[in-house]
Amino acid sequence: MKNNWWKILGVIILFYVIIVGMIVPLKPGIVDSSPKTVSAGHDIELTIETYNTHLNKAKDLNIFLKFSDDQIISAKSGDIHDYNHLTATFDIPIEIKSETSIANATLIIDNEIDGPALLPKAVFVKDIDKTRSADVWIGDIRPKLHVKDDFAFPYRSVIHETVRNTFFHVAIWMAMFALLIVSVINSILFMIKKDMKYDHISNGFTSVAIVFGLAGIATGMIWAKYTWGAYWTADIKLNMAAVTLLLYLAYWLLRSSIDDLDTKARLAAMYNIFAFVALIPLLIIIPRLTDSLHPGSGGNPAMGGEDLDNTLRMVFYPAIIGLTLLGTWMANLYIRYQKISSELLEREIDSEYS
């Protein structure tokens, strides 16, 4: 039991990840608003759909259009249809200070139950007089906003509830990477010390890592079908992930194609090191060089600093640790199984000769 505490820890962490990751609600958000364009000086009536809001129960509901920090207007009238649909009418001024000749505004909906929700670039205004600024602005709205501090995951357009995929799909890739680091260290140790136990350990960890990688691709494909409409796209990150996994599948092929244990161990260790060295540019460097459809783009192939909220981090990091521990348990079982089956084989051979 003393030696197995980490297995139980991994299981407990993963239960926490599943329960908290699925139950914590999303922050309120704005799904869509239309129309998107208007000419300056005219009215605009926006039809708005929100997410996770109680619009019909709110007593202090405010709707703003923000062109910049000091250019904010409030809706002149609004009509609430139900908990997540409303229409709002704005008077758009002609003089809006803007760098471009078409100004854009962020739509902000705030109420005391849900807190603020925003939609950037909700409205584009053409025919503006961008040199002057009108006098209809209402000043700083930040003190008026009911900022909530309950624990909720961020709302992101298009992604919606699948932000929870961070804890499973993304975490499995990270756990795979952790397992591969362990396996490549053991491969290097085998090349130095030529002790078969390092070969067993690196084989076990690489095998589990490949399983995790396949699971990562499968979960990614399902998510892609329902987010982008296709199981696979011509995306650099996806293709690099496929190439990396093919390289590692070749590791399995290599091991199974050689009968002599010593040769197998040596070639497998060398190939493992090569595959890991190839993984660094393929999976980590090249996807960062270009923009990509996959979340976390613009120079970062995973959900990195800008994509992750502190609330997401509280479940994401434990998910990586939990999945790495689970993968280690699986590797540990596989390694012990290999040992006892080779031990039994030896005893059988010995007993035949004695």
């Binding site: 197995n4 329960i19 699925m22 999303l26 109680h54 908990y83 699986m330 079982l333 199984y337 040992k339």
Partner: protein
Amino acid sequence: MLEKIRPGILLSLLLIPQFIFAESGQDFLRSTGKIYVVVVVICILFLAIVLFLARLDSKIRKIEKILNK
């Protein structure tokens, strides 16, 4: 034996959220009660995987003990 009790356990777990959260149906929001069912289902599936691993672990341990005697 466990297979016979399991549907009963699941059913009674399904009833709990209905009492705690009266707001459901029309006022669909953060918690409809139904997500809890999904969480329970995932937990049961995960528990099944963990129990499989634990059983495999104990079987291998038994054989290791015999071999190391």
